[in-house]
Amino acid sequence: MRISARRNNKTTIFDLSGDIDFANSPEVRQSVLREIQEIRPSRVVVNLTEVRYIDSSGVASLVEGLRASRDLGSRFILFGLSTAAREVLQLSRLLKVFEVYDSEDEALAP
């Protein structure tokens, strides 16, 4: 799994790739929470286009990011969900809790 961040104005975009599971979800959680707490972007966007698999610990990391963003009045957005990622969010009844878009352009629209 790889994670990198792009910053543009008040938006941070996280690009994730590979599988997110219990082996690496703590890294996702830490990166996302540090960004939210230290940089305080008004919008956090998570690019899941290259993520083939996400487990419940990965979902939990995203939920923590969502909660931390909401606490600061920021938006927390996901885009590019694979079928497997969409399924796991749906089964967890979280798909409607997140702002979800198909593409980066849609995610970055005002």
Binding site: D19, F22, A23, S56, E64, A84, L91, S92, R93, V97
Partner: protein, 143 residues
């Protein structure tokens, strides 16, 4: 049979084995994904809760093709047995949490129950045994 240590880095290896196995038994893609997810979540629970994140403890997985009679037709299925040597677990705690709360954690058991037809936990001697079964009805068989 697969024998592995409780190292989270091995989760992807197991996923890489389970999905083709389910495919070989004729499970369609959505069921292959859900079976793989259930095994992954069950292994994660063993690593986290049974072994307290110690990466050097033994886990064994057994896979078996099974059949059951459903009326006049026979359904085939996949039985997966996960064994660990951690402390005894209270089976009452293996239900998962309600999903009406938006909070991290506690989703793994829910995903296991969603995916499988049977989820049975037993303790035999010093071994925790989690038995997962998924049947494939004829309508779901992939050519």
């Amino acid at each position: 049979m697969m024998a592995l240590y409780s190292n989270p880095r091995l989760l992807s290896v197991v996923r890489g084995a389970v999905e083709p196995l389910a495919e070989a038994l004729g499970f369609p893609a959505p069921l292959r994904r859900s079976i793989t997810r259930a095994v992954d979540e069950a292994l994660t629970n063993i690593m986290r809760h049974s072994y307290g994140n110690r990466p050097d403890r033994p886990i064994a997985l057994y896979f078996r093709k099974i059949r059951r009679q459903n009326g006049e037709s026979a359904e085939q299925g996949l039985e997966i047995l996960l064994c660990d040597r951690g402390p005894a677990i209270n089976p009452g705690k293996l239900r998962g949490r309600p999903l009406d709360e938006i909070r991290p954690g506690g989703l793994g058991l829910h995903l296991i129950h969603e995916a499988m037809d049977k989820v049975e936990f037993t303790r035999k001697g010093l071994t925790n045994r989690l038995r997962l079964v998924k049947y494939l009805d004829k309508a779901g068989i992939e050519d």
